[in-house]
Symmetry: C2
Subunit: 344 residues, 2 copies
Amino acid sequence: MRPTLKDVARHSGVSIATIDRVLNQRPGVRQEMVDRVETAMAQLGYVRDISAADLSRRQASRFVFVIPDGPNSFMQRLAAEIETLRQFPSNNRMEIVLHKVPPFDGGALARVLNQLNPDTCSGVAVVAAEAIAVRDALARLKALSLPVVTLVSDVPAFPRDAYVGIDNVAAGRTAARLLGRFLGERKGKIALVAGSMLVRDHVERRMGFEQVIAETPGLDCLPVLEGRDDSRLVQRMLKECLSSHPEIVGLYNMGAGNRGLIETLSALPPTRRPQVVVHELSEHSRLALNEGLVDAIIHQDAGHEVRSALRILKARIDKTPLLQGQDQIRIEIYLNENLPSATS
Amino acid sequence: MRPTLKDVARHSGVSIATIDRVLNQRPGVRQEMVDRVETAMAQLGYVRDISAADLSRRQASRFVFVIPDGPNSFMQRLAAEIETLRQFPSNNRMEIVLHKVPPFDGGALARVLNQLNPDTCSGVAVVAAEAIAVRDALARLKALSLPVVTLVSDVPAFPRDAYVGIDNVAAGRTAARLLGRFLGERKGKIALVAGSMLVRDHVERRMGFEQVIAETPGLDCLPVLEGRDDSRLVQRMLKECLSSHPEIVGLYNMGAGNRGLIETLSALPPTRRPQVVVHELSEHSRLALNEGLVDAIIHQDAGHEVRSALRILKARIDKTPLLQGQDQIRIEIYLNENLPSATS
DNA sequence: CTGAAAGCGCTTACAG
DNA sequence: CTGAAAGCGCTTACAG
């Protein structure tokens, strides 16, 4: 059996209450006691039982997620995963709150963050936007010692404890490499679709994509079409682009709006269809992959991201280590052959 | 606050001890009491606190992993991940035991399984081998109501609660599709390397691979080279195969022994190098990908598999649900561009 | 500054 | 068949 506080108490001749003070670094303990307790703990190899601590502390931790509202299906997926976890029975003594804010609106996001305080919130996961007001809000949370992780979209320069999401430059590079390999010797133009060049993840994906294409002789990128994650708009822009550029051989959608893109592609005569890489596995993109309209999907696992965010926040609060590798979000590549079963 | 047993007791006018009996389906409670308790629980929306239950039950659960010993680097990785989890401080009240058995030896595996019993073991995760003795051993465990999951290599016909690992037919198909896409219009032979055609996962990968290649005009598979997961042997066989078949344009290693394969490839003049897909991300395969000797790596996450196995066993014991999607092991594809950072 | 005691939500003997 | 009480490993008031 693992040693408990009782064992440490016996071994050190100090009461359990005092040991608890040392353990939690609460003030008001003589150095001598601290030393006695610490040697005893080291000798016995004491490891604190977090779930017992949580039980006795009676107050549950409340984790707040702040994510953008709107039509972006990835964000909707994220919200659904948060909701799933919120309702999950096993997560006792852990409350989850979801705040949705208008997309592309740093001010609104900052206002929500500024409402949070340690009495009602023990940790925050936020899809960050790049705005001064957001940076200030994060600085405020830091000053209150509330742990914060950025989710999906990072702002490295802003104060936060960790980023949970993929490396978007690498994701863009991956898309370009796949497209390049799939095209083989074929030469021509590549059409790019993004939500908005104001969002950091899309900018980064584009950068990575163009880096790789620039090194690939015979291929060039056309200017980015900004579809604002809106299927209709994507459809219209893409249709025009394809008809005015018959030399297009590849297509990369780094944002949402796959539905519009897929409709446009399926209207094209098969011989004129470009090689296509898109982001995010969904019912639509999966179907398009099945039908050969899309050649590969770059994906990130929203469920994994939500669970990782929570684990990281909890570990910060409990001052426990994280498991190596468990919280690294992968840039997943799906072909028609390695799709996960449809239920997930 | 969530309702507790106390609330259910008050609400139903039944003692906590009896409620506990109902909750755990222990015998010796009058039907009337059962009904009263159950309505009260339903009305209050009672959800049991598993970690409190674990705490009070004082006895920790012991999970036994049985995996093959030997040079196979994936199995070594699996062992390392099990060890990591075993030592992880947060997993209180949960003991992990690792048994290594000789590889490719159903009898030895069965003997270890036959030693296990409910007094010393609460659940088993095993890399299954296809042998009658193993089937009987699994049937025995089932008769003892010990939960069992198969890990990495499944035998669907044998009794087990779940399989934790990838679909190997799909993995083979994925490898073939990648190779086919990378080869484009090029025609020729594809060399196949496996550990042993006696192991189910390799048989399945081959099947999937050949299915796809058969549909691809201009490409044909050579007979499988069985390298027994031994780098030296792989190197020798492959060298000979490459020199006697100048028409080889592709190479798929569905087993271990990447080191030998990589050495052989690096000795080849660059113009003669085939397109190469291998399994399992490791230091060696990663380096080969960086250097362009290997074009893609098909991977499964050993850490994820170990954690999932544990979660599934624990959920069976506690009769709790699993989180949708968390325990589905993915067929991961790595190119040079989406490699995870090297520390993981 | 330190410790004894009650309590978190359960389970487990032990009485009745 | 049912219930009161002790205890799991912690934390939290409350005394001293």
